[in-house]
Subunit: 220 residues, 2 copies
Amino acid sequence: MRISELARRGGVPVGTVKYYLREGLLPPGEATSATQASYDEGHVERLTLVRALLGPGGLSIARAREVLAAVDDPSISVHDALGAACAATSEPSPQTTDLAAAMAHVGRWGWWVTEDSPALQDLARALAAAQEVDLDVTEAHLDAYAEAAARVGRADVAAVPTSSQADAVRYVVLGTVLMDPVLLALRRLAQEDASGRRFGAQDLSGLMVPLAADRTAAGT
Amino acid sequence: MRISELARRGGVPVGTVKYYLREGLLPPGEATSATQASYDEGHVERLTLVRALLGPGGLSIARAREVLAAVDDPSISVHDALGAACAATSEPSPQTTDLAAAMAHVGRWGWWVTEDSPALQDLARALAAAQEVDLDVTEAHLDAYAEAAARVGRADVAAVPTSSQADAVRYVVLGTVLMDPVLLALRRLAQEDASGRRFGAQDLSGLMVPLAADRTAAGT
DNA sequence: CAATAATGGAGAGTGATAGTGTCTAATGTC
DNA sequence: GACATTAGACACTATCACTCTCCATTATTG
């Protein structure tokens, strides 16, 4: 297919496809002449993948390129692919963070992580930010988070397919990036549920009901 | 104090403080003359709060303004404050999303949420994005996420202080925004742990060890 | 009391990011 | 052979979160 069809299939303007090609997010099509290249189903798939990483995944072009490099690397291990995905979703450390508190927590939970994991930096920064504004995060509260995270991490790793290395790598990378928003949305919903049970019952009695599945989409 | 001291205390340039004043993120200081205003400790606290929302919280100026409006509203309920924080961290719905699948899941878990919750839209979009790229998210996998999220949501709500309405609202809003990155970082670390146990043992035996607390900060 | 520095306020400018638009020569298609 | 399409390159746009510059007006200080 030509570029216009690829763009249509992916639901993006042609210019955007060209942009992704330029940025190396999409591999070039097979050149059939000086001004023509043909693209295949693989390109369509790749394009939807790129859109997922950039949109819901929230990655920048540069980060998406790193993630895709991991997906494309046939020799990468699943564990290293996870590391690449993790790195792609972490902020670049602006200054040296004090990892002591974060490391103490992780040690308390007995988790095996490398000391230079970007996620450890992220945790340290996030906890420091909470402390900055005097947000009281108790050890028990954090333990609840850790148990929840452990549950999620175990589910993620258990779900990794064993069919092939490439499948596993793809699954790990995509799962890492695309399940973040799922988890956050679920936290919001769970908070709403818990809050409704604790705070909302009296003043919102009629408005908040357990969702029944008999309505498909709520318009205005 | 004058603006330069406020800026110094908050660790930001004076120009940035002026910008936040212009944007309504900081309340104006008490004008002592045509070209002078005095700021107090409340302003310093507010400034660190703004920095936390914009930096680690990942909010835009506009979203931060909404969140701060909730924090400032003395009559808002805790539940509504949570809703405001939730809305501030959701994408504005670009198109109508099909909520059916998301609602089915939420109903399955028996959660009480409103049908027009932004988080429900977020969940629907995130699941749709995963499906788009053929990422297989099983019901069991999602159930694990839901249980983890429920745990987190319960911990969050249980930790809400009862000292005063204002404290509770502040805690809820900040906790919602600032604990997101904590949860994501913990997921990464838990994944690394789980992955190391499953995939990493053979090829990274020496590099991955349970963290001991005898080192404070890991340099290069 | 005069020189210097800082302030408030407003508008313009900056750099990064993610595209879009425009152009050209070459090509495909009817 | 006429018209649309393409690849490739470069330039342009929009948004965001600042950052700079300017000015008249104080505050401070020697």
